[in-house]
C-alpha cells in the first residue's frame, strides 16, 4: 500500500524582484493513507507554500512530489487541474463558496470539471449524499448568505468530498469560526478520518491541532518537529462536555 503523500527533498523559491525567497527548503515527508496530520507553524514558516504544493496549486522548484503514487511535480497546468479534481478536496479558512449559488450546486461544482461527467440527475444525487454526510441535507437549496459560518464550512467539506478524493486538504478550516463551531467541524473531520479519509490540515492553533493524530511543526521552510499527538482530543467528548457545561449554566439560578 503506497503512501498518499510522498515528498522528497522539496524546495520552493520565489523570485520576487531582486530577492529570492526560499519559502520551502528541503522538505521530505511521507503521509500514509488514513492519517490525520496537522501542519503548524508561525506565519512565514512556509506552511502555506507547502500546502499549495500539496494541493497541486503550485509546483516545487526542486524535488519530487508523489501524490497517491503519481509524480505530480512535472505536470502542466491542465494536468494539475485534473489531479486536483480527482485526488484532492479543499477546505479553506474563508469557505470559498460561490455566492448566489445554492449549497447543492456548490457541492456539484467539482463534478462539473470531471473528465467523465455524470449525468446531471446522478450528479445531483451524489451531491445530495455528500450534503447528508455533513448533516446539511435539509439546507441543500440555501445560498451561502443564508447559512451560518459553520454550515458554510460543512458545505465546503461536502464539496471537497463529492469526487471521493483520497486526500482532504484543510487550510485553517476553523480560522473564521467560534470555538463551539470549530469543535463541531473538527468532529466532522475526525469522523471522516475514521471512515478512512486522509486529512492534512494547516492550523496555528494548538488546541485545534490536538484533534489530529500527527503534528508537523515548520519553521523557516523546514520541518522542525514531526510527532504523533500524545493526548489526542476527541471532538465528540469535547462536545458532550460543552453541552454539560451549558446545562449547568442553565440550571444555575
Amino acid at each position: 500500500m503506497s503512501a498518499v503523500i510522498q515528498l522528497e527533498d522539496v524546495h520552493k523559491t520565489y523570485h520576487t524582484g531582486e530577492v529570492d525567497v526560499h519559502a520551502v527548503r528541503g522538505i521530505s515527508i511521507t503521509i500514509e493513507r488514513g492519517e490525520f496530520v496537522a501542519i503548524m507553524g508561525a506565519s512565514g514558516s512556509g506552511k502555506s507554500t507547502l500546502m499549495n504544493i500539496l494541493g497541486c496549486l503550485d509546483r516545487p522548484s526542486r524535488g519530487r512530489y508523489l501524490l497517491d503514487g503519481t509524480d505530480v511535480s512535472t505536470l502542466d497546468r491542465n494536468e494539475l487541474a485534473d489531479i486536483r479534481n480527482r485526488k484532492l478536496g479543499f477546505v479553506f479558512q474563508n469557505f470559498n463558496l460561490l455566492s448566489r449559488t445554492s449549497a447543492l450546486e456548490n457541492v456539484e461544482l467539482p463534478m462539473l470539471y470531471t473528465h467523465r461527467r455524470l449525468p446531471s440527475a446522478q450528479a445531483h444525487e451524489k451531491a445530495f449524499r455528500a450534503l447528508q454526510t455533513v448533516g446539511l441535507a435539509e439546507r441543500a437549496s440555501h445560498h451561502p448568505s443564508q447559512l451560518s459560518g459553520g454550515q458554510q464550512q460543512r458545505v465546503a467539506i461536502a464539496r471537497a468530498l463529492v469526487n471521493d478524493p483520497p486526500l482532504l486538504l484543510a487550510d485553517e478550516p476553523t480560522g473564521n469560526l467560534d470555538s463551539r463551531t470549530s469543535v463541531e467541524i473538527m468532529g466532522l473531520l475526525q469522523r471522516l478520518n475514521e471512515q478512512g479519509l486522509t486529512i492534512v490540515m494547516v492550523t496555528h492553533e494548538h488546541d485545534i491541532a490536538a484533534y489530529a493524530q500527527r503534528n508537523v511543526v515548520m519553521r523557516d521552510g523546514q520541518i522542525v518537529h514531526d510527532h504523533s499527538v500524545a493526548s489526542r482530543l476527541s471532538a465528540e467528548a469535547e462536545l458532550l462536555r460543552l453541552r454539560a457545561a451549558d446545562q449547568a449554566v442553565k440550571l444555575a439560578p
Binding site: L57, A81, D82, L98, Y113, R117, N163
Partner: protein
Amino acid sequence: MNFLVETGYWLLRVVAIVKIALRALRRNKMRSVLTALGIIIGVGAVIAMVGIGQGAKSQVEAQIASLGRNVILVFSGSITRSGVHTGWGSAGTLTIGDADAILLEIKQVVAVSPEVRRGIQVSAGNQNWFTTVVGGSASYFQIRQWDFAQGCGFTEQDVRGATKVCVLGKTTAEQLFGDEDPIGKIIRISNAPFTILGVLSSKGLSVMGTDQDDVVIIPYTSAMKRLMGVTTLRSMLVQTAAAEDLETVRTQITDLLRQRHRIAPGKDDDFTVRTQEEIAQMATATSRVMSMLLAAIAAVSLVVGGIGIMNIMLVSVTERTREIGIRMAVGARPRDILLQFLVEAVTLSSLGGLLGVALGVGAAKIIAWKAQWPVLISPESIVISVIFSAAIGIFFGFYPARKAARLDPIEALRYE
C-alpha cells in the same frame, strides 16, 4: 469508437460551461443589455443601411426602367463645367423644330416626343384635383413603355390639330372619377374641356420621388397653344432602336443641336443630353453617399460595441477573480475558464446582434413607412450580421478570457 465517447464527454462539458456563462449573464441583466447596446446599435445600423440601400437601388432601377426603353433625355439649358446649371428646363432653348430635326436626320432614332409640363388645377363634375399636365407626342406612350389600363392614346392627327383630348394617369383618374369609368367623359383643364380617351396603367414613383401616375397627358401642341402659351420645350424624349446606339446618338444629338443653335466651338451647350444610365447613376449617387455614411457609423459602432464588451468582460474577470480561483481549485482547467468567459462574450455580442437585427428591421420598416422609401431586407444580411457580431465577441472577448484563464489559482483564491 473511443474517440466518439471522448467527444461526447467533451460536448457535455462544453454544454455545462455554456450554462454557467448564460447564468452569469442572466444575473446581471441590466449590465448585459447595456454592454450589448453598442453591438445592438451597430448591427441595427447595418441592417437598416443595407435594407434602405437595397430598397433604394431596386426602386431606382425600376424608376429608370419606367422612363422607357433606350431613351435619351434632352433638356433645355445646360450644366456648365463648373457645375452651375443655367435654367435647366425653364429657359426653353429647345424647339419643336429641334425635335423634328432629330427624328429626321439621325437614322437610329425611331421616335421623338417633345415634353412640356405644368401644374394645373383640373376638374370633372364637382371634383377638383391639382395635377401635372404633360404635353407629349403620339409616340410618348410607346417611348415610355406605358400601357393603357383602359381606352387608348391620342394620334398624330390629334397632335397636328391640337385637339382637346387627354389621357389620365391612374392617380388622377381615381381622384376625379373614383370607381366610375372616365372614358369619353370631359375634364376641364384651366376651364378648357378635354375629352378623356384613355387611362394609363400605374408606373409608381419617379426618380425624383414624385407620383408618375398623378398626371394628365395631352398633345403637346394643345398644351403649348391652348394652356401654357409657350413656344419652346422643357425637354424631349428620344428613343433609339437599340441600346448600343445610345452613345452615338447622344453625340449626334449634341452635334446637331449645337449646329442648329449656332453655338460657337468652345462655348457651353444650351441644352443637356442624358442617357438613362447617366440618370440612374445620378439618382444612386445620393443613396450611395448615405450608404457609405451609415456603413461608417455602423463600423464605428461595432468597434465601440466590441470595446465595450471587452471592457465589461475585464471588469467581470476582476470581480470574479475569487470565483475563478475556486473553480480552478476544484479542477477547472485554464481552457474551461477561457471557454466560460469566451462564451459570455460571444453570447453578449450575438444576442446584441439578434436584437440589433430586430432593431434594424424595425427602423427600416419605420423609415419605409414614414419616408415612403422601399426597404429590402435580405436574409443574407441578417445571417452575416449575426455571424459578424459573434466574431466580434470572440475577438474582443478573447483577451479578457485569456486573462481569466491565466490567473494563478493561489493569487485568485486570496483575492479580496
